[in-house]
Each structure stands twice: as C-alpha cells, then as structure tokens.
C-alpha cells in the first residue's frame, strides 16, 4: 500500500501546504472587497443608463465574461508591463506580481458582481424607490439607504457563490509565478514523486475553505431573518 499511497507523507506535508493558504485567502479577500465596490458602481451605471459609461460598462462585462480567466491573467501580467514600458514607464520591475493578480481578480469579480447586483436591484420593488423619492430623498440617498441594502440581501447567496469560485480560481496564480499551495505541491512533488498525496492535501484545504464560506453565507442570511424575528415584539 505504502508504495502506491503514503498516508504518513500526506499527513506530514499537510501543514506545509497549509502554510501557503494565506496567498489564496488574501487574493480572494482583496478581490471580494474591491469587486463588490466595482460591481455596485457598474450596476448603478448600467441601471441608470449613464450615457458613455453605460457602453463602457457593457464592454467591460462582456469582455470579462467572454474570455477565459487565464487569458485575462496573462494579459495583465505579461501584456500590461510591456505596454507600460513602451509608454516610457521604467519602474516595471518594482511592481510585485501580486499587484497584477489583484487587478485581474478584482476586475473579474467586479464584472460578475455587477450583473448580480444589477438584477438584484431590478428585483427590488419599484415602489421602494418611489417611496424614497416621495419623502424628498435624492437618487444617491435613495439608492444608498434603501435600494442597495435590499439588493444586497437578495444578492448575498449569489455573491457567496462568486466568492467561492474566486477562491478556486486562485489555484491558477502559480502560472504567473505566485507561490501558492498549488505551486508548493508542484515543487515538492517534483522531488518526492508523491504528487497524489500533495494534491489531495490541496483539494482538502479547498474543500474546507469552500465549506467555511458556505457556512458564513448561510449564517449571514439566517442572521438577517433572525434579526427581523428577534425584533418582533
């Protein structure tokens, strides 16, 4: 058995692989936060059909949705520095790789979340906006205080799904030289010839993380409902 599958090796290397998890988490966190901000802004642009910006937003979304993620990553990582150099910017070498990774992930998440929030806003009853206007609110107040909070409640489960696929998407960053769990498993496997055990470890860690995010998602949903119930006098 040990010849085919080395359980001791799997257990022994688990903490080593796990010690690289922070890269994936950091990318997911940054992309999640920036993506939600981008997504909200783009959704509002599209819903209110703000002339030129609306066109740009539509192009942005169809580009992100229409191209493979790896292509986007390479475009930014290999393409952007070239372009900047040709434009005369010399400090390319000082920009850390993670910077490009953050940009691509944030733009990627932003495009998907924009569509989610857009349909969530459309799902909010039209009467809510009218009521906000009727008491004298302007558009910014109405959206930030009434419409967006309700849209987010509607969108939470779907946004969590996006966060989960973003997390899984971080397994591609080794392609641009970021050392994450995948890269570590790759390096160790090259020496030990025990790639199976190493990648099982990677899989276990991803499963655990996805499980945690799902739990957090249901917790937030429950808390919203629970909050309402608790206040029921």
């Amino acid at each position: 058995m040990g010849i085919y599958f080395d359980l001791d090796y799997l257990i022994k290397t688990f903490p080593i692989i796990l010690s690289y998890v922070h890269t994936s988490l950091l990318i997911t966190l940054v992309a999640g936060v920036i993506g939600i901000v981008i997504g909200s802004i783009v959704a509002l642009i599209r819903i209110n059909k703000i002339t030129i910006l609306d066109k740009l937003a539509a192009i942005y979304i169809s580009f992100i949705r229409g191209t493979p993620f790896l292509v986007q990553l390479f475009l930014a990582y290999f393409g952007l520095p070239e372009l900047m150099q040709k434009l005369g910017y010399q400090g390319i070498r000082e920009i850390p790789t993670l910077f490009y990774v953050f940009i691509v992930f944030s733009l990627h998440v932003g495009a998907y979340i924009a569509e989610i929030i857009r349909s969530a806003i459309l799902a909010v009853d039209k009467g809510q906006l009218e009521a906000a206007y009727s008491i004298g609110m302007g558009a910014i107040q109405a959206y930030s205080r009434i419409i967006l909070p309700q849209a987010f409640s509607i969108a939470i489960p779907t946004i969590c799904n996006i966060i989960i696929s973003t997390l899984k998407g971080t397994s591609l960053v080794f392609n641009v030289g970021v050392i994450d769990m995948m890269r570590k498993a790759d390096l160790m496997g090259a020496n030990s010839h025990r790639s199976l055990e190493l990648y099982i470890n990677v899989a276990i860690i991803y499963i655990l993380l996805v499980f945690i995010i799902s739990k957090v998602s249901t917790f937030i949903e429950k808390r919203q409902v629970g909050y309402h119930q608790m206040n029921n006098l």
Binding site: A131, S134, H228
Partner: protein
C-alpha cells in the same frame, strides 16, 4: 393650494390625462373618484413628479412649474413639500416601523437623530402603533403598514399629502382601522389632503371637495353632497349608481 393648469399626459398612444384644470384650496380635503383607468393615479403622481406630465403647469403655493421645463431642483423642491401614501404602502422593507418614519426627518430634513426619533415615536403613537416601533414591515398586517405609511407622511409636516387608494389593497376587515386614522388626520392636521378612493361613504363624511374623473378629464367637481348625492352629469350618475348599489349589495 395646488393648481393644475391644462395637464396632459399620454403613455405612448394612450392619452391618460386630457387637459386637467382645477384648484385644490389649502387645508382642504379633496377626494378624487372615478372609474378604473380614468387617470386618477396618474394625476396624483404628476404632482410629485413620480409621473411627469407631458405638458401643463403645476402650482404648489409659491412653486410655479411648467412641467416641460421643470428641473431636478424644482422636482426636489416640490417633493420636499409633499408626501404620499401608496396603495401598496411601500414601507422601506429594510427599516423598522420607527426607522421608516425617522428616515425622512433625519436624512432628508436633517433633524438631529434624537429629536427625529422622538417625533417619529409621537406619530407612531398617533396612528396607534407605538408598541410596533421595532417591527419590520413584513411582520405587520396591511392595515398596520398603511397606518405607518400615513405616519411617515404626517411626520414630514408637508403642505400636501397625496393618498392613492390607501385602503384598496387591504383585506376588508382592515379597511376600517385605516379609515379611522385618516378621519383623525383630516380633523387634526391642517395640510392639504388629496385622496383618491373608492370609499364613497368616507368621501361623503370627510371631503370638502369631490372631483369626479372619467376618461382623462374632470367631468364635474364640487361639494360632496352635490357631487355624490345630486350629480348633474350622466357619467357621474352612472358611476355612482353602480358603485353605491355595489356597496349596498355587499352589505
């Protein structure tokens, strides 16, 4: 005072308002009645520009607007002076009863939070729902939601409150409590109230002025005993006979 001058509005080919002219005096209770599709809601919503009329003038005391030329600032100004009670209540679903009333005070009128809260509670008591301050709309009955909707409008102390069929989405057994609150409002408050309703008995009791609309025009208007008891126009007679017999039939 609200004055409509030659208000026209079409949705595509469908001409919904065909030259509305009328004056609603300050502090009056004006009830608008008329068959479904006659343009009552559209007229009411044209006052606070939830629906923008195609042409005509709307005058609210010192605000004099040509609807075609009204700017964002004009619209904002008119909305600051009016409030609306909706058929489907439209309470903010993410806010408690108290917060629904506070919102306009604290956020729009910039009343300090403590004062806004106190005032909101006062109006919540007024509609008999002080004990529901912390409840969310989905935890309240339709009648309770509509009473909060009325409190939300009252708290802003507007010049005009526009009511669009405030009881017609309610279960019959809840209509009474809302009408009670509305009667109280008509007695206590001195702002101008414009009420679209099918409650003829209510109109008879509280209205100073009744407007009968049909097919996008005002067919006749006047004091309630005149319009509701001795209408001159055939269309009004027809509408009322159908309506009143229907009510009697239900009883």
């Amino acid at each position: 005072m609200i004055e409509f001058r030659n208000i026209h509005k079409a949705f595509g080919e469908n001409k919904v308002l065909k030259g509305i002219n009328c004056t609603i005096p300050t502090g009056s209770v004006t009830v608008i009645v008329g068959p479904s599709g006659s343009g009552k809601t559209t007229l009411l919503r044209s006052v606070n520009f939830l629906e923008r009329a195609d042409s005509g003038e709307i005058i609210l005391d010192d605000i004099h607007l040509d609807v075609e030329k009204a700017t964002k600032a004009d619209i904002h100004k008119i909305r600051q002076r009016t409030a609306m009670v909706f058929q489907t209540y439209n309470l903010f679903k993410n806010k408690t009863a108290l917060e629904n009333i506070m919102e306009g005070l604290a956020i729009v009128r910039k009343v300090p939070k403590a004062a806004a809260k106190e005032k909101a509670l006062h109006f919540l008591e007024k509609v008999g729902l002080g004990h529901k301050a912390a409840a969310y709309p989905h935890e309240l009955s339709g009648g309770q939601q509509q009473r909060i909707g009325i409190a939300r409008a009252l708290a802003l102390n507007p010049d005009v409150i526009l009511f669009d069929e405030p009881t017609s989405a309610l279960d019959p057994e809840l209509v009474g409590e809302v009408l009670e609150v509305m009667k109280k409002v008509t007695q206590e408050v001195n702002c101008t109230l414009v009420v679209v309703t099918h409650e003829i008995a209510f109109a008879r009791e509280v209205a100073d002025h009744v407007i009968f609309m049909d097919g996008g025009v005002i067919v006749e208007q006047g004091p309630p005993q005149e319009i509701l008891n001795h209408p001159k126009e055939d269309r009004t007679k027809q509408f009322l006979s159908r309506y009143i017999s229907l009510v009697e039939y239900n009883i």
